[in-house]
Subunit: 154 residues, 4 copies
Amino acid sequence: MNNNTENWLYLKRTVRFGETDAAGVMHFHQLFRWCHEAWEESLQNFGLPNNEIFPSLTKGNNLLKVALPVVYCHANFRNAIFSGDNLQVVVKPIKLNSNSFEIHTAFQRNNKSLAIGLIRHMAIDPKTRQRVHIPIGIEKWIEASSINQGPIPT
Amino acid sequence: MNNNTENWLYLKRTVRFGETDAAGVMHFHQLFRWCHEAWEESLQNFGLPNNEIFPSLTKGNNLLKVALPVVYCHANFRNAIFSGDNLQVVVKPIKLNSNSFEIHTAFQRNNKSLAIGLIRHMAIDPKTRQRVHIPIGIEKWIEASSINQGPIPT
Amino acid sequence: MNNNTENWLYLKRTVRFGETDAAGVMHFHQLFRWCHEAWEESLQNFGLPNNEIFPSLTKGNNLLKVALPVVYCHANFRNAIFSGDNLQVVVKPIKLNSNSFEIHTAFQRNNKSLAIGLIRHMAIDPKTRQRVHIPIGIEKWIEASSINQGPIPT
Amino acid sequence: MNNNTENWLYLKRTVRFGETDAAGVMHFHQLFRWCHEAWEESLQNFGLPNNEIFPSLTKGNNLLKVALPVVYCHANFRNAIFSGDNLQVVVKPIKLNSNSFEIHTAFQRNNKSLAIGLIRHMAIDPKTRQRVHIPIGIEKWIEASSINQGPIPT
């Protein structure tokens, strides 16, 4: 297990041309893709195997005991983001209760805040759609992420 | 100019296979694309030419006097959305002040609420990035949309 | 079953702002999404239920007996496509053999050819990944589409 | 200028959950996004500034003297690609003539070929849409990439 939060909470991302629109800047909804991908990269860097959390056909089985659908998300856009920008990405998870958690993700360029996104997940049984406990791996990731952390990125 | 709000505030959309993920349901951030496309379709149905509002290279000119970047957005997801679902889409714009407005968009299947999205736009000068008045065409669309309307879709 | 090919082989699509990039024109790979969505719309208009062809979690079952992965695709781009363009979409399926078929899709603006895309599908058993016969519904759609048809759209 | 082709022709990419569909595997058209992003990353690693090649609103100017639209592309899909897969990406550019070039991109998992994509670009004047010479930076990247290279990845 990884002991250096730098490794999984502070990521990098370069903005790509196809993520812009004809106004010449990043098209807004790409930010949510970035947030979700930052979350996946964070779990991977922490040491949590992707196929324990996200359903996949690998090995002929795409049924996990817990699904983690997004129940709410929001984003604030403060400064334009351009193709080629090298972004710093700061991930901060928060446990809300035994069934749900949210992840704040901040995007910066040269330490200037450009945008933040928040995604809230609910843990459910994929068959019954009833609430269940957050998977233990996610619990550990949230707990380890909370140690020695500053305030929520803004 | 169109006088029947049915025409531009009540739209339809069928969920496509590529909009799902390996959990078997619509992948969350597609909703923001749907919201923005519903807005564009609403303006078009109302009678507002696309190239008066959205920058484009058409006629060699992609510079408009007013840009309308998204400054904030959020979404609530209440029920799973599946490939092949035929959705009702209800668009409701609200003017916030002379520089900004927001659009609430509700997605329903057989009158059951599945998800809602909100997008807030700021009117700015694309060169100076300073706030300017909402374009007159957008003003008229918001005003016409407010007549005989019920509460914000939820 | 629908008897008018107009209904399922000649479709319409309006280009949306989020489908452009900072060069001011449609970003190339959107075309493949359009091709696949035109195929889905064509099957739907023909009368083939979406959930007989595309896996979905609806009713708790996302396993179909036949999967139709894309094994090859290509596209030619002839003229720039702009946000707001109202496109005519012409779909033409071709059966290659008992296991595979391809769909040619042409995109036009005012009868001017802008781009064409081709997608080739293979019918397989999703568990064994071995080739199987094309589903009967798809066979019927291809057959009905071939009657009274002109040459492949270019 | 970078002298180690390893640096700009051999890249890595992890498949993300949002890139899958309800069949449990990567949705086909994502491959073209990966190809284009690999090209951008390759140019960046080689030392070519993004804003010399791709239009952007940065510094209030999104007009470059040369645009590089995609005129053709294709892809072959050989083996299913799953969420969480750590892919090797091999980029190989080829100059076709003074106005156009193409980039072959191969995607492998544990040295097993999964898919290849090809994108062909034409150099044009963005105002007149007439053919022009490939930008000198791109020429240098193609030339440097050709030294000590093996066959086209398949």
